[in-house]
């Protein structure tokens, strides 16, 4: 059977690894934010999959996923506001060029 808990967990793990890869290797701050979104979604998928497939199927994983949605929206809004402000002040969103605290 292809549709099983393991398939969901492997998909979630792949999402997590690819999101982490995006966070580590990208220079653009918005691309890094996209990696963060991927990792949050990997967590969501695992929550829903476990809540559906646990020995006692329940809805708690779905509720936790809803709250993660709220946190993701708040994070994206504030982070993009910060990125726009950085761009207005420094004319770049490349993370390795935003280093004025080092000088």
């Amino acid at each position: 059977m292809i549709i099983s808990l393991n398939t969901y967990l492997v998909t979630g793990a792949a999402l997590f690894v690819l999101g982490l890869l995006a966070i580590i290797t990208k220079r653009n701050a918005i691309a890094v934010l996209m990696g963060v979104e991927l990792i949050l979604n990997a967590a969501n998928l695992n929550f829903v999959a476990f809540s559906r497939y646990s020995a006692d199927p329940n809805i708690n994983g779905v509720m936790i996923t809803l709250f993660i949605f709220v946190i993701a929206v708040a994070e994206a809004a504030v982070a993009l506001a910060i990125v726009l402000n950085i761009y207005r002040n420094m004319q770049t969103v490349n993370l390795d060029e935003v280093s004025s605290l080092k000088k």
Binding site: T25, N44, A74
Partner: protein
Amino acid sequence: MGKDFVFLLFVAMTIGGAAIVAFAKRIIYNAFALMLSLFGLAGLYVFLSADFIAAVQVVVYVGGIMVLMLFGVLLTTKLTDVKLTTLKNQRIWAGITLGFFMIVLGAVIQRAPWIVTHEELVHDPQSATIGELLMTKYLLPFEIASVLLLAALIGALFIVRSEHK
């Protein structure tokens, strides 16, 4: 079987979109690939019989966060010269390490003795149960989430406001 095929299609959409986010050089490709990945995830939620989450995924992520991301991309990059150069060595080492990490995760997932249910899926709509739980068992987290959203809204407005009057 048709059901398996559709399921694998959604898995491929999800992982393929995420791979483009991680590997593509142009930020605008990254943004649209992220949208593809999030759509695939909504399909997977349908297969998990989480109908409400699937709908919210499309509305919040594809409709909300992605538009926000595209705004950010278009406001901060010049579309003519957006080769996203990453440091070469960093990329190779990150790929090797995370590939190894993925293998470990996959092995653990395959070998762990998960205790799973063998009941058939129930396809009842979940929204009524979710609404009831939000007003009873999850009332405090619900209120805290509302305050968090309000704080994030005010904070974001405060950060991007214009300095000069």
